[in-house]
Every structure is written in structure tokens, then in C-alpha cells.
């Protein structure tokens, strides 16, 4: 049943596109080809750039004598909390007349930022943490004896990195780059603001007056995502037996020597541009808006509270529902190795590969067409449903780890003490899985808060989240209002990210 729900949108997309016919023409025409090429170009180049940047940063902060590396370990991961459209917004605002660059340096004749390079730079700087985090985690799980052996056999730190560490981190790098790729092809906010015409932008503009085209393009996007995911899986299967894992003592440190200054400059530069600059720009806009007549610039405190509550509320509901829905599948796949479980798992994962916009689109058209559920259009449950389909995979991975973390013999021990199935679940399994499930729920929470395109399409009228509030404020050029909401969103997700991911990374160094 869970599987069916997750498969629903994709199946509907295929069926509808087939019914409408005309899909082949749409896909062959210039309408599809241009945006498709641009989407693939942007996603591929961004993924490669993120792989390089994320891996370099991970190595610098985890394995060298870089000054302040413990602080940077946290800071370097933080651009993750800035949604792409907020980053793009900050970039535009910084370059605009009267923007931060104008105010600080007197550059008042800067060209407006737009197009491929702007989108590439924005998305690279905001999504490299998708590579940095898994690679940093992989490095800390690598047995130190591996690198020590390499060094004692006469190889320099750089050679050891190339010949031993890099091959061991390939899996993590590939997984991270894949996430970046999926993130970029499904991104709507940044490319739309920066006027780079990708598939998502085309879908959004076509969905009202030309539904068949929107559906066909949505299907195209879904196919791209699934093909990429499947090919990565095929490649990664071969690696399983050749990865070394061990917890351990402190790893060796590579002395940077004369490279210390350039390395520090790189790390400071990345953190400065990707994290400090956007926040500074948003703060500048907000302060300016607050400094002048509040009502005229459209800033009210109540404007902030309601979206904040809405965002928090729906994110929590989504997170809880996602974990509850996904847990049985996680049980089936890790405990029972069932065929059904494997299929369900694949479908849940596919949901994550599908761009949010595509899922929302499928749900919208499906609900509008179907007589029974028609009343659900733009209601709370439907929005939650779309979120869960989209982000369920994030909870799935964490749940599987949580389930497999409870040794089977504990259940057997409880059983031998005369405890029934439900009592075992309640007294043994759940308490032990709670931290893992919490992490999964937290990931869903974080993603839901930042989600834009599906929320725009599916949210009930008048139901504003921080993301949609920022978006609408931007469209009507209320930068102060956008700035305030964006700061709130960044702060909220910053706290969550810290709790979920970075704290664990920190502990590894203790």
C-alpha cells in the first residue's frame, strides 16, 4: 500500500502523457531540447564542481593541520541550510543598485547577474555540502592504519591521498555528486530567479495554459533522474567488498607547509561567499526595511509569525508521517529480506529522485481529474502527501540504519522472557531505534521547510510558509520582507542541521 502511494505520481504521469498523446512531438521539438540540454549542462557541471570542492574541503578540514579546522568543520557544512532561491536572491540583491556591493565598495554600475554562470556559481556554492558531508564522514570511518601503512611504505601524504584515500572515498563522492545532480535538475527557485531557462522553469510556466507539454516535460525530468540514479547504483554495487571501515584513533595529519595560506584562503573564501555573504545581504535588506517606514516596505512582525508557525507545523507533521509510513518498509527490507519490501524500497527511493515539481504536478492533475478526491486540491493532507512521497527516502535510509542497529538477539531475548510482539516493539525496538528515527525525521523536517515548488502548487490558499512568503515577497520586490523571512528560515534550518549532522561529525574528533 505504501509502495502504491509512492508509485502513484509516476504512474499517473506516464498514463496521462500517453493519453494526451503528442508527447513525442513535444519531446522532439525545440521546446524540450533547449531546456533539457541546459538542465543537463548545469546539473553535470555543478555536480563535478561540487565533487571537487566538497572533497578538497573535506580533506583539508579532516586530515591536515589547517588552522581552526574544528571550527571550519562545522562552518563548511552550513551553506546547506540556505535554500537555493534564497542564495540566488542574495546574489541578485548584492549586485543590485543600492545593494551590499554598492554600499560597501561603491560599485553602482554592476551588470545584473543572470544566466548559466550565475546559476552554476550559486548552486555550486550552496550544494557542495552534499559532497562534503558524506566524504568527511567516510574519511572519519577510514581506518587510520591504512594511511599509516602507506606512509611507512614511503609514500608522501599527497601520494597516499591519491592512491589510497581517494579510491576509498569514491563511493561517498559519487553518492554526494548524485545528490547534487538531483538537486540541480529539480531546482526551481534559483534558476527561475537567475533567468536560466531549464526544464523546471519551462514546466512551471507551461502548467497553466499547456498542461500536456508540462506533463511531458515532467515525465522527461523524471526519466533523467531515474536513469542517473540507476546507473550510479549499478556502478556502486561493485565497490561493496573493497571498502575498509573501522572506528579508530586519531588519523595522521598531513602538514600543509607552504600551502597553509592558500588552503586557509580557500576555506575562508568559500565560507565567506557561500555563508557569510548571503546572510549579510539578507540582514542588510531587512535592516533597511525595518529602518524605514515599516508598513510602506511591507514588514510586519505578524508577517513573520504566521509563516513561521505554518512552516514549523507542516514540517513536523510531514516528518512524523514520513517516519511512520516508511518504518514498516524499513523493517521488511532489513529484517525479512522480502521481495515486497525490496520493491517498496525502490519506489520510495525513486520518490526522492523525482523533482518536487514533478510530484506536485502529477498530484495536482490527478486530484483535479479524479472525482472522489477532487475536494482535496490545495488542502493540508494533500500537501503532506506530496512531501512524504518526495522526502520519504530520506527517512527510509535513516530508518533502515536504525532497524539494523537493533541486534536481533535482543528481540530473541525479550521473546524468551515471554514478551509478545507488541510489547517487544514498544519496550525493546522502539526505544533503541528512537535516535535513528529522530535523525530521519529531522532530515525530512529540514527538507520540507526549504521546499518551494511543490508548496507553491499545492499549499491551501492563504497558507503561507516561510519559503512561499519569501518567494512572493521577491516577486513583488519586497526585499525587506523577503530578507526577514529568509533569515528566519536560515536560522531555523541552521539549528536543525547542527543538531542532526554536524554534531555527530564533531563527536568523531573528540
Amino acid at each position: 500500500m505504501v509502495a502504491a502511494a509512492f508509485a502513484g505520481p509516476l504512474v499517473y504521469l506516464v498514463v496521462r502523457t500517453a493519453q494526451e498523446g503528442g508527447a513525442p512531438e513535444v519531446l522532439r521539438s525545440e521546446t524540450a531540447l533547449g531546456p533539457l540540454t541546459r538542465t543537463l549542462l548545469l546539473a553535470a557541471t555543478t555536480a563535478v564542481a561540487c565533487a571537487l570542492l566538497g572533497t578538497t574541503l573535506a580533506w583539508l578540514v579532516m586530515r591536515t593541520d589547517l588552522p581552526l579546522r574544528r571550527l571550519f568543520r562545522v562552518l563548511v557544512a552550513l551553506p546547506l541550510v540556505i535554500p537555493s532561491f534564497v542564495g540566488a536572491l542574495a546574489l541578485i540583491a548584492a549586485f543590485a543598485r543600492g545593494g551590499l556591493l554598492d554600499e560597501l565598495f561603491g560599485f553602482d554600475a554592476l551588470p545584473p547577474v543572470r544566466g548559466y554562470w550565475a546559476a552554476f556559481a550559486t548552486l555550486t556554492l550552496l550544494s557542495y555540502p552534499y559532497v562534503y558531508l558524506p566524504v568527511a564522514a567516510r574519511l572519519s570511518a577510514l581506518p587510520p592504519s591504512l594511511e599509516e601503512t602507506g606512509r611507512s611504505l614511503g609514500r608522501s601524504p599527497a601520494q597516499v591521498f591519491r592512491s589510497l584515500v581517494l579510491p576509498q572515498a569514491t563511493g561517498a563522492i559519487a553518492a554526494g555528486a548524485l545528490l547534487v545532480f538531483l538537486y540541480v535538475i529539480s531546482d526551481f527557485g534559483a534558476v527561475s530567479l537567475l533567468r536560466y531557462d531549464t526544464l523546471t522553469v519551462r514546466i512551471e510556466s507551461a502548467r497553466l495554459f499547456d498542461p500536456p507539454t508540462a506533463l511531458a516535460l515532467g515525465l522527461l525530468l523524471a526519466v533523467v533522474a531515474l536513469v542517473v540514479v540507476m546507473s550510479e547504483r549499478g556502478l556502486s554495487r561493485r565497490r561493496v567488498n573493497t571498502e575498509a571501515v573501522a572506528a579508530g584513533r586519531r588519523p595522521l595529519q598531513a602538514p600543509l607547509g607552504v600551502w597553509k595560506a592558500p588552503a586557509l584562503a580557500l576555506v575562508v573564501g568559500v565560507v565567506g561567499i557561500a555563508l557569510v555573504a548571503p546572510v549579510a545581504v539578507l540582514a542588510q535588506w531587512t535592516l533597511r526595511g525595518l529602518g524605514e517606514d515599516r508598513a510602506a516596505r511591507g514588514v510586519e512582525w505578524s508577517d513573520l509569525w504566521q509563516p513561521l508557525l505554518n512552516t514549523g507545523g507542516i514540517a513536523v507533521v510531514t516528518a512524523v508521517v514520513a517516519v511512520a509510513v516508511v518504518l514498516p518498509v524499513a523493517y521488511l527490507t532489513t529484517r525479512h529480506q522480502s521481495r515486497v519490501g525490496a520493491v517498496a524500497n525502490a519506489l520510495v527511493v525513486a520518490g526522492f529522485a523525482l523533482p518536487g515539481l514533478v510530484i506536485a504536478l502529477a498530484v495536482v492533475f490527478w486530484v483535479l481529474r479524479a472525482p472522489l478526491v477532487g475536494g482535496l486540491y490545495q488542502t493540508f493532507p494533500l500537501l503532506v502527501f506530496a512531501y512524504v512521497v518526495h522526502f520519504g527516502a530520506q527517512a527510509m535510509r535513516a530508518s533502515q540504519v536504525a532497524v539494523s542497529g537493533v541486534p536481533r538477539r535482543l528481540g530473541d531475548a525479550a521473546r524468551s522472557l515471554g514478551s509478545g510482539r507488541w510489547r517487544r516493539l514498544r519496550t525493546v525496538d522502539l526505544p533503541l531505534m528512537l535516535p535513528g528515527l529522530g535523525a530521519g525525521a529531522g532530515l525530512v523536517l529540514l527538507s520540507t521547510m526549504k521546499e518551494l515548488p511543490a508548496t507553491l502548487l499545492l499549499a491551501p490558499t492563504g497558507f503561507d510558509t516561510l519559503a512561499t512568503r519569501i518567494w512572493s515577497a521577491t516577486e513583488s520586490a519586497y526585499f525587506a520582507r523577503a530578507g526577514l523571512s529568509a533569515l528566519a528560515l536560515v536560522a531555523l534550518s541552521g539549528v536543525l542541521t547542527w543538531l542532526l549532522t554536524i554534531r555527530r561529525l564533531e563527536r568523531l574528533d573528540a
Binding site: 581506518p143 592504519s145 591504512l146 599509516e148 601503512t149 602507506g150 606512509r151 611507512s152 611504505l153 614511503g154 609514500r155 608522501s156 592512491s163 589510497l164 579510491p167 576509498q168 567488498n241 573493497t242 571498502e243 575498509a244 573501522a246 595522521l252
Partner: protein, 354 residues
């Protein structure tokens, strides 16, 4: 004979803990030296200092005539020509056996020949194309040794080399490793907490405790003439009894025993090896049998004495005693005595049971 390793006043602190405390040690060319001690005694840290994975806080290390660590000198591990075999073997899982062994051989032209030679040496001829996870534990260990030996290091270090093998395999592999090191004429230092391993494999043993080296000697000397009561109880079984020394004998609860060191007087402790203790059923004896641990080829009989002390006797397989039997205790040969100041409780080394 040339000295390959010289440690002088070597010291390493981890925070407030002094892991290695002013260690002096020489390793001679061609010998196999064991660093023996309970866990946490600083033996692995000493090994890592020699390999260059840790920097000493004080003291110096001279390797093959060159100072590699000192007050103003630190040579990186890759420049030390020291091979290391890790407890977990640390085989590069993504490289074949051949590439693992050839990793440290810098001369490309000589690499293949050297790999083949090393695999012959460790008895893995023709296995070069396999991946580490396809090998058994014993085979993996031999690959790790071949890899460490391949660049012809001046010294090879082994960290708890047999702890990952099951008991049945361990004895056989120990012999194989001994033969490989001999064939390669390698100078080797290995770390272990297992006294049997140290006694059977090493040419000389350095016993460590709490960061200090207590005694360095050949296995036979170490067993027969421990200079320290910790060494006496850690290397081989021994029970400590309090006594009073005068001249060349010590008066104890089990009688007057001749000692090897005749220059002591006053309160001492004597170490009794169980194989030197014999028991006889005797209604007026000094002790009562408390328990028997039966091994088949022999047995350990534990006897409680009147003052609460304990002695053990190792005897043949015939079960002559039952718990509760009153027995008299006799000791053959000379015993080793140590000067003490304190009570019996302080005599009992905290880690004697390891």
C-alpha cells in the same frame, strides 16, 4: 653487533597521562624483540613513536645510525624505512595482493620481481591477482608481512600480530611468521600482551608497565631471574608470599626457602612458580585445597594458607586432591626474593591475572 634502534629517555604524554615514560631500549640487528605488557602499558605507543606516527614529547630515537626524532628533529614516517604490520593488517581493500605487496617498492622495473619473491617467501606464490577480502585471516596476515618486507626496511614493527587469529590457528601462524622473519633476516619488534607469544617467538623480551620498561632479557633469563615482582608474576605464573630474609634464605608460611639473591635482609616477597610447588595430603599441613583447575595434561591446585595467602601447584593429570583437603606445601629449588615495604595486598600486582 650493530644496533638498529636506540631509544633514549623516550617520553610521550596524552593530555595528563604519561603513556611512555623515559624509555631506554636498544634493538640489535637481526633480532626479534617483543614489547610485552598489559593493555595500556604504553607498548603500542612506543611502537608508533618508532614508526613516526606520533611525535615524542622528550627523548630521542636513532634508527640505523640516523636520528629520526629528537629535540629539534622529526623525520616523517615515509622517510624512516620502517615496515609496519598492523593488528587489522590494513591491507588496501581496493588493490590486489600483488599491488598491495608492490606498493612500497619504488623502483618500477624491480617491482614485479620483488612482489613474486615476497609472495614466495610467505608461501602465497601465484596469489597476486586476488583481492584481500578473498583471503583467509592467516593469508591476509602473510600478505601484510610481505608488503612490509618488500621495500627492504631496516626494521619491521608488528602490532599485536596474532590477536585477530583464532586460538587454533595462532600457534601455527606464530611458527610461520618466525620462519619468515628468519628467512628475511629481518630485525623486528612486535607488541603483545600474551606472555606465551613473547616467550616462544622473541629473541629478547622487554617487559613494560605504566609507560616504563622494567626488564629486557632473553626469555629464559626473564623467566628464571625476574628483577621485578611485576615481571615475575606477569611472565609465567607466580604467587607472591611475604617473608623475612636473613642471609641466603627466607622464612615464609611454607617454611624456610633458599633464595638466589643472598644480599637481602628484612621484609621481602618471594615469587613461587607453581611447577616448583608440590603438595602432600597431611592432616597437620599449612594449607587447605581451595580449588582445582583441570587442563588434561596437567592441573593447577590452589591452596589457601592460614594467613590468607595463596599458592598454586602445577602437577600431573592424576586427580590426587579434592577441595577441602588439608595439605602440606613444599618448594623445590631456590626462589626469587624481592625487597618490599608494605603489606601483602600491595604485593599482589594489579594485573597479575592477565
Amino acid at each position: 653487533m650493530r644496533t638498529i634502534v636506540e631509544l633514549r629517555e623516550l617520553t610521550k604524554d596524552f593530555g595528563a597521562v604519561r603513556a611512555v615514560d623515559r624509555v631506554d631500549l636498544d634493538v640489535r640487528e637481526g633480532e626479534v624483540l617483543a614489547l610485552l605488557g598489559p593493555s595500556g602499558c604504553g607498548k603500542t605507543t612506543t611502537l608508533r613513536l618508532v614508526a613516526g606516527f606520533e611525535r615524542p614529547d622528550a627523548g630521542r630515537i636513532v634508527l640505523d645510525g640516523e636520528e629520526v626524532a629528537g629535540s629539534d628533529r622529526f623525520v616523517a614516517p615515509e622517510r624512516r624505512r620502517v615496515g609496519v604490520v598492523f593488528q587489522d593488517y590494513a591491507l588496501f581493500p581496493h588493490l590486489t595482493v600483488g599491488h598491495n605487496v608492490g606498493y612500497g617498492v619504488r623502483d618500477r622495473n624491480a617491482r614485479d620481481a620483488r612482489v613474486a619473491e615476497m609472495l614466495d617467501l610467505v608461501g602465497l606464490t601465484g596469489e597476486a591477482a586476488r583481492l584481500p577480502h578473498e583471503l583467509s585471516g592467516g593469508q591476509q596476515q602473510r600478505v601484510a608481512i610481505a608488503r612490509a618486507l618488500a621495500p627492504e626496511p631496516a626494521l619491521i614493527l608488528l602490532d599485536e600480530p596474532f590477536s585477530n587469529l583464532d586460538a587454533a590457528l595462532r600457534v601455527r601462524v606464530r611458527g610461520e611468521v618466525r620462519a619468515i622473519l628468519c628467512d628475511a633476516a629481518a630485525t623486528a619488534v612486535f607488541v603483545t600482551h600474551d606472555q606465551e607469544e613473547a616467550l616462544s617467538l622473541a629473541d629478547r623480551i622487554a617487559v613494560m608497565r605504566a609507560g616504563r620498561v622494567l626488564q629486557v632479557d632473553e626469555p629464559g633469563t626473564l623467566y628464571a631471574h625476574p628483577t621485578d615482582r611485576f615481571v615475575a608474576t606477569f611472565v609465567g605464573d607466580a604467587d607472591l608470599l611475604p617473608g623475612r630474609a636473613d642471609g641466603d634464605a627466607v622464612t615464609t608460611a611454607v617454611g624456610r626457602l633458599p633464595t638466589t639473591n643472598g644480599d637481602l635482609s628484612g621484609d621481602v616477597a618471594v615469587a613461587l612458580r607453581p611447577e616448583r610447588v608440590s603438595l602432600r595430603l597431611d592432616g597437620a599441613g599449612q594449607g587447605v585445597v581451595r580449588g582445582i583447575t583441570y587442563f588434561g595434561h596437567d592441573q593447577l591446585v590452589e591452596v589457601g594458607l592460614e594467613d590468607g595467602a595463596r599458592v598454586r601447584s602445577r602437577m600431573g593429570p592424576v586427580r590426587a586432591f579434592e577441595p577441602g583437603d588439608r595439605v602440606s606445601v613444599a618448594v623445590t629449588g631456590e626462589v626469587i626474593a624481592f625487597r618490599v615495604s608494605g603489606t601483602l595486598n600491595e604485593l599482589t600486582p594489579d594485573l597479575a591475572s592477565e
